[in-house]
Amino acid sequence: MPESIDAIVFYLSAIVAVVCSAVIVTRKNPVYSAVFMVLFFIAWALNFLILRAPFLAVIQVLVYGGAIMVLYLFVIMLLNLKPEEIKEEVTTQRKVLSAIASVGLFILLAWAIRTSPKVNDAPILSNSFLPDTPAVTEAGSLEAIAMELFEEHGLAFELTSILILIAIIGAIYLTKKGKALSHDGTHTG
C-alpha cells in the first residue's frame, strides 16, 4: 500500500514538475515563470518526501519558495517589463546551442548519478520504491542531516558561511560606494 501511494505521488509530482519546467522556459512573461517555478519547487518537495527526506522537502519550499522566489518576484515586479520592452531576439542558432547544452547537462547528470558509488550501494531503486525501514527513515531525518552537515562536512560548511559573509559585506560595500559616510555613520551626500 505505501509503495502504490508513493508511486502515485511520484508520477503526479513528476508530471507537474516537468510541465512546470516547460512552462517556466516558454513563458514570455517572467512573472508566470516565477510562479510556476514555485509550483515546481513544491512538486519537487513531494519527491523529497517520497525519498523519506522531509527536512529537505520543507527547507526546499521554505528557502526557495518562501524566500528566494519572493525576492525574484520582487525584482521582476519592480522592473515590470512589458513583453515588447524586452528586445531580445532568440535566434535559431542560440536555440540549438542551448538545446545541445541542456541535453549534454542531462546526460552528464544521469551518468554521474548512475555511476555514483552511493547510489549503486543503495538498495533496490530500479523496480520498486523505498521500503519504510528504520534505516531509510533515519537517513533522511533532521538528526542525520545535522550530523552529516556539522560533523563530517563541518569545514566545508564553515567555509561556505564565510563565503556568504564575504558576499554580504561586498553587497553592502557596493550599495554604500556612491555615498560617502561621515564619522557618525550618517549620510552626507
Binding site: P54, F55, V70, F74, M77, S141
Partner: protein, 341 residues
C-alpha cells in the same frame, strides 16, 4: 472511543472552527475598535450585533464584481485563492488539544512556517496583476516586508528549538520529536513555568513582532496602507474576491496566533495537570482556544493603538534591530544551555 474517530473528525472540526471563528473575529475587531474609540460599534443586526458578520457576507456576495481593464486575467483570479489557502493549510500541523492534531508531522513547526510564508504570493501577485500603481506598490512592499521579517521569525524559532532540545535531553521520559509541533507542546506541558515564553522571553517578543509583520497587521500594514496606497494590493478587488483577501488575512491571523501559542505559550497545556480521557482532551482544547483568543485580542488591541510605521522605519526595525536581537537571543540561549548542561 474518541481516539478512534478523531483522525477523521479533527480536520473537519478544526477547519469548521477556523472558518466560523473568522466572522466572529471581524465582529470582535469592530466592537473592540469601537470600545477603544469610545463608540458602540455594530449592534443592530441580531442580539447585540451578533449577526453583523452574516450581513457583511451577504453584502459582499451581492456586490458587483468588477474586473478592471488591463488586468492579468489568470493571476488576477488566482491571487485571492493564493492568499487564502496557505494560511488555512498551515493549521494542519498545529496541535489544538491533547492528541487532537490533524497531522503530527516530523517537521511540524517548519512546515507551518513554510506554508505561511507562501501566503505572500497571493498579495504580491494580486498587486501586480491589478494593473494599478497603488496595488503594485502594495504588493512590492509586502514582498520586501515578508522576506525581512521571516528571517527574524526563523531566527527566533531557532531559540525555541534549542531550548526544546535541551530539555528533551534532560528529561529522559519525554518521547517527543523536537521539531514536531506536538513534541514542542508536550515539552512545555505540566506547569506554567515550562512554557517557552519564560525560557525565551526575548525570542517570544521577536517572534510576535515578526508575526504582526507577516500578517500585514498594523503597525506593519504597509501593503494595505489606506492613507497613502488607497487600499494597497486589493485596491482593484471587489465583491467575493475582496472577501477572499479579507478572509485570508484573518485566517492568517488565527494561524499565526495558534503558532505562537504552540511555540511559546504551551499550546494546549492549561498550566495544571490534565485529567485522563475525554474530559482532559476537552479542557486542553479549551485552554488552546482561550490562549488563541487572547493573542487575537492583542492583535486587535495593538492595531487600534499604534500608528503605522514608515517604510524605512519598518525595514530599519527588521534588519537593524530584530535580526541582531534574534542572533543575540540565540547566542544567550546557547551559552545558558552550555552552562546548565
Amino acid at each position: 472511543m474518541p481516539e478512534f474517530f478523531l483522525p477523521l473528525l479533527t480536520p473537519i472540526l478544526v477547519f469548521g472552527a477556523i472558518m466560523s471563528l473568522v466572522p466572529m473575529l471581524v465582529l470582535g475587531e469592530r466592537r473592540i475598535a469601537a470600545a477603544i474609540q469610545d463608540r458602540v460599534g455594530p449592534n443592530r443586526v441580531g442580539p447585540n450585533g451578533l449577526f453583523q458578520p452574516l450581513a457583511d457576507v451577504v453584502k459582499l456576495l451581492f456586490k458587483e464584481e468588477i474586473v478592471p481593464a488591463g488586468v492579468d486575467k489568470w493571476m488576477y483570479f488566482l491571487a485571492p485563492a493564493l492568499a487564502f489557502l496557505p494560511a488555512a493549510f498551515a493549521f494542519t500541523t498545529i496541535p489544538v488539544g491533547r492528541g487532537v492534531q490533524i497531522a503530527d508531522l516530523n517537521m511540524g513547526v517548519l512546515f507551518a512556517i513554510t506554508v505561511t510564508s507562501l501566503g505572500v504570493y497571493g498579495i504580491s501577485l494580486g498587486g501586480w496583476s491589478s494593473n494599478n500603481k497603488f496595488a503594485l506598490l502594495g504588493g512590492l512592499r509586502s514582498n520586501a516586508q515578508v522576506i525581512s521579517y521571516e528571517i527574524c521569525m526563523g531566527l527566533a524559532l531557532i531559540g525555541v528549538l534549542m531550548v526544546s532540545n535541551f530539555f528533551y535531553d534532560v528529561e529522559a521520559g519525554q518521547t517527543a520529536a523536537v521539531v514536531s509541533s506536538g513534541g514542542i507542546v508536550e515539552l512545555q506541558s505540566g506547569s506554567i513555568f515550562n512554557w517557552n515564553i519564560f525560557k525565551q522571553p526575548l525570542g517570544f517578543l521577536i517572534f510576535y513582532i515578526a508575526a504582526f509583520a507577516e500578517n500585514n497587521r498594523l503597525p506593519f500594514d504597509l501593503p494595505e496602507c489606506e492613507a497613502e496606497l488607497v487600499g494597497g494590493f486589493h485596491t482593484e478587488y471587489s465583491s467575493m474576491k475582496f472577501a477572499m483577501f479579507f478572509l485570508g488575512e484573518y485566517i492568517a491571523m488565527v494561524t499565526m496566533s495558534a503558532l505562537t501559542v504552540t511555540l511559546y505559550l504551551g499550546g494546549w497545556d492549561p498550566g495544571f495537570s490534565l485529567p485522563e480521557g475525554f474530559l482532559g482532551t476537552l479542557i486542553s482544547i479549551g485552554a488552546f482556544v482561550v490562549k488563541v483568543l487572547i493573542l487575537l485580542f492583542i492583535y486587535i488591541w495593538v492595531r487600534w493603538t499604534l500608528p503605522r510605521f514608515r517604510y524605512d522605519q519598518l525595514m530599519g526595525l527588521g534588519w537593524k534591530v530584530l535580526i541582531p536581537l534574534a542572533l543575540f537571543n540565540i547566542f544567550i540561549t546557547a551559552v545558558v544551555c552550555l552552562l546548565m548542561g
